[in-house]
């Protein structure tokens, strides 16, 4: 017979003001197997914990129930407490009488009844608990950061500074991401390159960071502490081991194609660096436009290169590397507005540009050397219309979410135009202006002071007339139609997850939310983790955000990784699935159902009468299993059971409630 102790917490008045401890505690005392019950103001406090420990030795208690807040809050606290006692940390159940009772009910009498029910269930369950023991798995002390935008850069630097090896993987030829494309950054208007390029250089020079640019993740296996990642190095056709980045090769290349970095506003050769400050500062050949690679005719760059770096026979290679932790920092892209907005000309009018194209235009290192000129005829615009929320906050058309950075960079763009083109006029069409950040509201005020005209309403149509663009929409504050004749229009378009996110997240087993952003493990309490142990999140791959938030999140993710890599091995949760091999027929229903690919079939030796046979049974990998229990529901014969949540324990709870 078990000897159960029940400890009821008041949580100050959080619980006690609704649930009556003077009724609950005596009721608990009468429950089967309970030898001791007590209540206290704050169970989680030092004296509260001491009281529990003392009672355990005094009353020979062998398992406990704590009636308190959600187990997500303090289950670990109380498990840690039990480590110092005679009881196994898993001989504990939490009855949640706060979030699931006192906080959600007003009727004190009935809430107390319910709390008694919840405690009765926990008492029944704990009577079936068994000691569980954590296993430990070794940790490979090296991290992989996927995506070399500012999020990935910051995370890599933080981890490397803490003394751990990092591989920073970027699929483009250079790191830098969107921040490298920006001109100035709100709210302080410091030059984006001046603050990001030094970081890029640090990454390139850091002894603990290995840069793998122009690379893609091909497959991921393993689990927290020991991931195996196959990385595909795309063919560069330039030997980076000897290349000094002199740039001679780029000068005579006969090919001219749209520059990705300048978003089609200028051309680049087939052998190119993404931008002048690229890291690594060495070129690659774009095999789709190179004449030598396409038709076998040309070879000029090879003739020019003084060091003989050019190798037209270069091939993609795949290497497999081990990592203890992975940070996802794959960022965002802007929606393809032209495909979505036929009413804005669907991309036909050259003087309608995206916010990011404007960043390139206004940037001194950009195609117009920082002069704000409209693409069609290279004239300075006199009137500019800025349209916000293009594709954002519009469930019918684009995305229902807010892209968060656009309100601020729209203000920035207006400010830049008014500053660089004295006498110009800027109209900003908006739904709301959102400025929740330090110094943001002030920045917005300043822009209005500069003379930007804010018009509340969406633009319903843009068409060309006499060499200008007529923007037609509604001023919803005045309730009237408005028309503005503009020389240039800037669309502040919605962010969406980077292309390829689906494949990457499925390889890792990480979930995505309704909008395809990578899902965090808990929106409030575990914002930089995913549900997959050892896989963390940084930056806009988790949802739209600006640079300050991106960098904070990157450092937070790095802190998590550093914490993990500081250990040489880690304990895995013992609350995982276990197989009763005798019952398992090896049907494999669990293999396909496991979201974490934790189950494989394993051959075992067995006996059938006098005959020796080999048969397959399910086998659970304790590093991968997250204890979700999906397999235990799929297993028809019940050969799989979840330790800590065995079917028997759950039925015991149900019985306690219903019988």
């Amino acid at each position: 017979m078990s000897r159960i102790g029940v400890f009821v917490c008041h949580c100050g008045t959080n619980i006690a003001s609704v649930v009556d401890p003077d009724r609950l505690t005596p009721a608990a005392r009468e429950m089967p197997g309970v030898v001791y019950a007590a209540d206290y103001r704050y169970m989680c406090s030092e004296p509260g914990q001491q009281m529990i420990k003392d009672s355990i030795s005094e009353h020979g208690i062998d398992r406990i129930v704590i009636a308190s807040c959600s187990p997500r809050m303090h289950e670990t606290t109380f498990r840690k407490m039990l480590k110092g006692t005679s009881i196994n940390p898993y001989m504990l159940e939490i009855a949640n009488i706060r979030e699931q009772c006192s906080w959600v009910h007003a009727d004190k009498g009935r809430a107390t009844e319910k709390a008694i029910g919840l405690v009765r269930m926990a008492v029944s369950k704990v009577s079936k608990n068994e000691p569980l023991y954590a296993q430990s798995i070794p940790i490979t002390k090296r991290a992989l950061v996927i995506g070399g935008g500012i999020a990935g850069i910051q995370a890599a630097l933080d981890i490397a500074d803490a003394g751990h090896e990092v591989v920073l993987l970027e699929r483009e030829p250079s790191i830098g991401g969107k921040m490298a494309m920006l001109d100035k950054t709100f709210p302080t208007l410091d030059c984006s390159a001046c603050i990001s390029t030094p970081k890029m250089v640090d990454v390139g020079a850091h002894p603990n960071i290995r840069l793998m640019t122009y690379c893609e993740v091909e497959s991921v296996s393993g689990y927290i502490g020991s991931f195996e990642v196959a990385i595909r190095q795309k063919a560069r056709y330039v030997n980076h081991d000897i290349c000094t980045g002199c740039g001679l090769c780029e000068t005579k290349c006969p090919v001219k194609v749209d520059s990705e970095f300048n978003l089609g506003l200028s051309k680049r050769p087939a052998i190119y660096k993404l931008f002048p400050q690229a890291v690594p500062s060495k070129p690659v050949i774009d095999s789709e436009s190179c004449r030598m690679l396409k038709d076998g005719k040309c070879g000029i760059c090879a003739k020019l290169c003084p060091l003989g770096c050019i190798d037209y026979k270069d091939e993609a290679r795949t290497v497999t590397e081990s990592f203890g932790a992975i940070i996802m920092a794959t960022g965002y892209q802007l929606v393809d507005w032209a495909a979505m907005y036929g009413e804005y000309g669907g991309g036909r009018y050259r003087d309608i540009i995206s916010g990011l194209q404007f960043e390139r235009t206004v940037n001194a290192a950009g195609p117009t050397e920082g002069h704000i000129l409209r693409p069609s005829d290279g004239r300075e615009p006199e009137t500019v219309v800025i349209v916000k929320c293009v594709g954002s906050r519009d469930p019918k058309k684009g995305k229902s979410y807010c892209s968060r950075a656009c309100c601020m960079y729209a203000a920035k763009h207006a400010h830049q135009i008014l500053e660089k083109l004295p006498g110009s006029r800027v109209f900003i069409f908006y739904i709301d202006v959102r400025t929740p950040g330090k110094g943001y509201e002030e920045f917005y005020d300043q822009t209005r002071m500069d003379g930007a005209v804010y018009v509340r309403g969406r633009i319903s149509k843009i068409y060309e007339e006499d060499g200008g663009l007529v923007c037609q929409g509604e001023d919803s504050l005045l309730g009237s139609q408005v028309r503005v004749r503009a020389d240039m229009v800037i669309l502040e378009t919605a962010m969406e997850p980077s292309q390829g996110i689906e494949g990457l997240t499925s390889m890792l087993g990480a979930a995505r939310d309704a909008n395809n952003w990578i899902q965090e493990a808990h929106p409030k309490l575990r914002p930089v983790e995913t549900q997959v142990g050892g896989v963390f999140l940084a930056g806009t791959c988790q949802g739209p955000k600006d640079i300050p938030d991106t960098v904070s999140q990157a450092s937070a993710a790095a802190a998590k990784v550093i914490g993990l890599l500081n250990k040489s091995e880690m304990e895995t949760s013992p609350m995982i699935s276990a197989v009763e091999r005798d019952k398992c027929s090896g049907c494999g229903a669990c293999v396909g159902i496991c979201p974490y690919k934790a189950i494989t079939l394993q051959e075992i030796d067995d006996r059938l009468g006098a005959k020796r046979i080999k048969r397959e049974v399910a086998s659970v990998n304790s590093g991968l299993c997250q204890g979700c229990g999906a397999c235990t529901a799929a297993c028809r014969t019940g050969a799989l059971d979840l330790l800590g949540f065995r079917n028997g324990q759950i039925l015991e709870e149900v019985d306690a409630l219903c019988l």
């Binding site: 689906e502 997240t505 499925s506 979930a511 995505r512 005798d582 019952k583 398992c584 027929s585 090896g586 049907c587 494999g588 229903a589 396909g592 159902i593 496991c594 979201p595 079939l601 059938l608 005959k611 046979i613 048969r615 397959e616 999906a630 799929a634 028809r636 014969t637 019940g638 079917n647 028997g648 039925l651 015991e652 019985d655």
Partner: protein, 278 residues
Amino acid sequence: MSDRQEKMRQSAEKLLRDGEVGYVIGWGATRFCDRTTPVFIDSPEGAASLVWNEHAVNSLAKYLLDDKYPDKKIGLFARGCESRAVNRMIKDNQVKRESLYLIGVPCDGKSSDRCRLCRERNPLVYDVLLWEPEANAAPADRFERVRGVEAMSPDERYRYWGGVYDRCIRCYACRNACPVCSCRECYVDMGRTGFQGKQHSRSDNQIFGVTRAFHVGDRCIECGECERACPMGLPIMGQTQKMLKEINELSGEYECGLDADSDSFLGRFDLDDKDEFM
């Protein structure tokens, strides 16, 4: 008919004489002219007792589960229904294709009521085909009966299934006949599952019915062996078919055992699974 029967006998005899298989599973005569019985022929001479007539109604594949680790190959006469069962068993990792010799016998439709619903008369997998494939007869409406039950009001439906399960004697003949029931130990035989009592009562019988439907519903090959085996004549394939109909409506055309590669509907997890109920 006798020509085909002769071909079957000859083929079994040869397989046994050549030592290709350990035994052949087929149909044999009984005392009753309108019945056959499954037979296990282990000598070339025995092949002469094989029969093929309209009363060869039992689906033979289930017997493969009695001998999952045979020393020699097992010869099995396979029609559409046997072959679909074999596909499912291979996918469920219960039998190995290499340990079977499938003698394909296109079916001309047997006397059983369930053959009315047959959608595949010809074996989908075989080692040898004894005669030309048969044209598939247009089957009766696949989900006609399910629709009938769906049309009832909840009360009527409860009365209907309650009535069915009042008569169930829990003999588990349906389980024993089902080719996709392949657990090493069936939950109904366990001492204390905690949710399924041994007593004969409407609620316990119904729990058995519902559980059975969930255990096999997404892998049911609609061979109708459960209903054929049921001594009380209960319409229990209606339950697995209800599952199949739901799956069809949720995710498009779905039929089991057509190949040995397809996952069962409830046996796979996909990040893109529909989850509008969440």
